[in-house]
């Protein structure tokens, strides 16, 4: 099963490489000033395997990220995905079919006026709930594949083309409130396809409790206008390596939720001990179809799924991800086995001045 956030059908063009290089060149031209502001190349390289209902697929993937600060207030950033996909041939044939995908995940410019006000322009990840803009990179997600409701918002591709305002509305010692507001125009461009829509997200964060509660809303503003609602709760208790994350999303034709918990113990020599590097995971999710119109990427029938994972955090920014899931639905019950290894890289785009 694919990661649901890869959007494989969206931008299958080699022009992406040219755009990526263009961003790199722009970074080079604009690079000046502080020795600590050398543009960076980060990202993840991974090899995943997934056995879904007895059929095993393989997909190596590279997700590079470029980020270049310009002056005191501007950041240009972009992320891409390079993916090869090997899946068994159908019809009792032996061997594997092979396909590949190259696409920009986002390409945006940010102007940071203050902590209260940042302007984002370009092709950006839609901040509806939390998975899409926070957890979707391969080097961050705990599971190989995203939740079933990851694309349940006005843009099934997960990105918008236009502008966004974001920032911190209120900052106090006991709490803070962040906001996002975005507008996306309609575009049929191969590289920057997008739907017309707008929406926003507001989050309340309690730093002492390490509790975050947020609400999202967006609306499709083309063809049949549709509303989407979302809510999320994150709880990451202080001085522990326990994390509980959850989301709920409701669209015009379907709704669903997921809850994920992960834990690492400090009791046997800390997080960097052989035991502390083990990270058990659990995720539960359900989707519910509200009518028979399946235009949102969710399963066509009500689906329940439980994932049991065990990750291992190796030294040198490397993780091993393993999981077993059981999926229940009217179309059949399946086992899903996933294993993979991810390496995160992070280095200067070129040799710069020593700070």
């Amino acid at each position: 099963m694919f990661r649901t956030d890869l959007h494989l059908t969206r931008r299958p063009s080699a022009h992406t490489i040219g755009l990526f290089l263009f961003v790199l060149a722009a970074m080079a031209i604009a690079h000046h000033g502080s020795a600590q502001n050398t543009p960076l190349i980060s990202g993840g390289v991974a090899f995943f395997s997934s056995t879904y209902a007895g059929s095993t697929s393989f997909y190596p993937i590279i997700e590079p990220l470029l980020a270049a600060p310009l002056g005191q207030h501007v950041l240009v950033e972009s992320r891409a995905a390079f993916l090869e996909f090997y899946s068994p041939k159908g019809g009792n044939q032996s061997g594997y079919d092979h396909s590949h995908f190259i696409g920009l995940t986002y390409l945006q410019g940010d102007y940071v006026a203050s902590r209260h006000f940042t302007i984002v322009a370009g092709d950006y990840l839609i901040p509806f709930n939390t998975y899409n803009d926070r957890l979707s990179p391969v080097w961050i997600g705990n599971f190989q594949d995203g939740p079933l409701i990851a694309n349940l918002n006005f843009s099934s591709s997960g990105s918008g083309l236009g502008g966004m305002l974001r920032g911190n509305a209120i900052q106090r010692s006991k709490y803070s409130i962040d906001y996002n507001y975005y507008y996306s125009t309609r575009s049929a461009n191969e590289q920057f396809s997008a739907s017309r829509g707008s929406g926003g997200r507001a989050c309340l964060y309690l730093p002492e409790q390490r509790l975050e509660v947020g609400f999202s809303y967006d609306r499709l503003l083309q063809r049949t206008h549709e509303n989407f609602y979302g809510a999320h709760v994150w709880w990451e208790p202080k001085d522990t390596a326990f994390r509980l994350r959850s989301e709920f999303a409701r669209g015009q034709h379907a709704q669903g939720y997921w809850v994920e918990a992960d834990y690492r113990t400090k009791a046997f020599g800390g997080l960097d001990s052989p035991i502390g590097r083990i990270e058990p995971l659990f995720r539960m999710q359900q989707t519910f179809r509200l009518d028979t119109i399946a235009s949102d990427g969710l399963p066509r029938v009500n689906t329940q799924r439980a994932d049991f994972g065990l990750d291992y955090n190796l030294p040198h920014n490397t993780r091993i991800l393993t999981s077993y899931a059981r999926q229940f639905s009217a179309s059949g019950n399946y086992n899903i086995w996933e294993t993979g290894i991810v390496y995160r890289f992070l280095f200067p785009a070129w040799k710069g001045k020593q700070p």
Partner: protein, 100 residues
């Protein structure tokens, strides 16, 4: 298995998590930073303003990378400033945390 069963599972999970958390908090953390890297600092108790900002903002979504060139610390901070709506003060404190 119907949806009610799944809700029961969620409830059991929440209770188990809370118990595990209580047990964890009752024990004394043994972690000490051993190397100069943000990842190791992340595992220790907050020691300064920069570390507190890191744990309350950056570490909410991802683990810290195991060290990086000081030449890109400014780019990392600008990226985090956009993602987490950090202030100029936060950025300066984090820069000090990354480059003590």
């Amino acid at each position: 298995m119907n949806s009610r069963h799944f809700l029961y599972v969620a409830l059991v999970l929440a209770v188990v998590s809370a118990l595990a958390l209580a047990a964890q908090q009752s024990s004394t953390p043994a972690t000490q930073p051993t190397k100069h890297s943000a990842a190791h600092k992340q595992a220790a108790q907050p020691q300064n303003e920069g570390e507190r900002i890191f744990q309350q903002n950056c570490a909410r979504c991802h683990n810290a990378p195991e060290g990086f060139s000081p030449r890109i610390s400014g780019a990392i901070l600008r990226h985090m400033r956009v993602r987490a709506s950090l202030s100029q003060h936060d950025e300066e404190q984090l820069l000090r945390f990354f480059n003590p």
